[in-house]
Symmetry: C2
Subunit: 295 residues, 2 copies
């Protein structure tokens, strides 16, 4: 197993614990790649049958993944817990007005909104969505999960298939976007969807910035069409200084920190160990990327 | 049952649902009092054997409560869910840096802290503390509960008695204050306690401002002794314009909104119904105030 672009002690230990042996690229059956960017990714020798990528969102890697080539696995689900935790923090911060209070230097009149008693729609019920559903379990909320095919998700009130998405915007109080970035999910939330939401709705995005139409969102925030938006990802990203989203009312922006680097390597090493073990045993790998689905 | 200082339809319905009959004060066996302040509280006719107060924290009512007088019940536990929800929001907002990001107008370098993997001490395990323990259940955290007598609390890693409190400040990463305001809890968190905490520690206070020594907290925030403080209650309260806490680093202040008015009457009505039912049946009331304990 080749570890690139440079070795990491925790990942090396994980490879050995999984029954593998760190090796040079030319001798490798498998590659564990630790760089988020694709530009340093090498041409693969023909012996490589599996590549483990470090990120859960892999839209930028799709051109490198061929139907007949080696299996690529993403880190989908690996960072689910820290990302879901951040999503819950953003949701509570939004609904409970914390961003407004954080900017205040005076004792304001209180706001009346609680998460308790509301309906939360989670668009995308992969690792992050499912971890968030678990975290919402003890809260007195209804949860609607939206998945590609609408297969039942444990712990929710209702599951919708992606083709029923149009109806969800008027059926929930708040929305958490946790779906992969694909051609089909680009601008999933645009002007029309924003208009359909309740005026108190908060949108949380911990997926990719492109799932939300930024211009439409800025307009909706200025018009007071929704309660607010708490975004860990933006389009463009990083959000440039002076971008209108920085000053839009009720926007709370965090700089893509839902999965912080400290937690990252620790969680990734666990997945590497498990996938090396499965690779050695000839078992199905966790989170293989489907070139057609795009994730 | 007399409802004062003025009638409320939801509470009137709750009194009837509990088997009671709204009445004038002079004819009343019991009083349900809906004003937070004590100054309008009437002299009680001798027929009154029970008074239901509207607040969970009743420190300002203690002078009115006599050992041989009518039983007073507090609203302890009634607002546990909205307050615990706010406490969790403040805790996540603190640990994940949301207050800093809310004030930013530029894409900052990310912070590396998650709640996952940390130890949270909850000082006071009444209704709010227990609701919060439930909400922390799906998070990968250790929870230490501190209660007056150290009796076991379900869902936590460890329970400490109040007399073992001195040791807790160095044993947890973060601290949520949810204990009643009594003589014994005044300035529970002072300079010494702040120094004993880890440098990354966040303090959340959803109890009463007086449990924290404000001057010591401001000094600790300026010195970087702790990670920060997220406070729904302050001392003095309301916090006056220009108070040093407004500009202390890593302070997040919300204006006593953990239990917002909208949720308040709905939750209180449920308690009134239950206590009227128990009063009529001669059963023990929920949340009687102990004049000696002070809550």
């Amino acid at each position: 197993v080749h570890i690139g672009p440079k070795a990491d002690p925790a990942v090396e230990r994980a490879v050995r614990d999984g029954g593998g042996e760190p090796s040079a690229l030319d001798d490798a059956d498998a590659v564990v790649w630790l760089d988020w960017r694709r530009d340093r990714f090498p041409a693969l020798p023909s012996g490589v049958r599996w590549v483990q990528l470090p990120s859960a969102g892999v839209e930028s890697w799709m051109p490198a993944i061929e139907r007949d080539g080696p299996v690529f696995t993403s880190a989908a689900g690996v960072y689910a817990v820290p990302v879901a935790e951040h999503a819950l923090g953003l949701l509570l911060a939004g609904v409970r007005g914390l961003a407004t209070y954080a900017r205040a230097t005076s004792w304001l009149e209180g706001d009346d909104r609680t998460l308790e008693g509301s309906t939360v729609a989670i668009v995308g019920a992969g690792g992050i969505g499912r971890a968030l559903i678990g975290m919402l379990g003890p809260h007195d909320v209804e949860v609607i999960a939206v998945t590609r095919r609408g297969q039942p998700v444990p712990g929710v009130t209702r599951t919708l298939a992606a083709d029923g998405l149009a109806g969800v915007w008027s059926q929930a109080d708040h929305f958490v976007i946790a779906a992969p970035a694909t051609g089909a999910t680009r601008h999933l939330v645009g002007a029309e969807q924003l208009r359909a939401m309740p005026h108190h709705a908060w949108i949380v995005n911990v997926a990719r910035g492109t799932l939300v139409d930024t211009d439409a969102l800025v307009a909706a925030l200025h018009a007071g069409e929704i309660g607010g938006a708490a975004l860990d990802v933006t389009d463009p990203e990083p959000l440039p200084d002076g971008h209108p989203l920085w000053s839009a009312p009720n926007a709370l922006i965090t700089p893509h920190v839902a999965n912080p680097p400290g937690a990252m390597m620790r969680h990734l090493a666990e997945r590497v160990r498990e996938n090396v073990r499965r690779f050695a045993a000839g078992e199905e790998l966790v989170a293989p990327i489907d070139p057609e689905a795009g994730y």
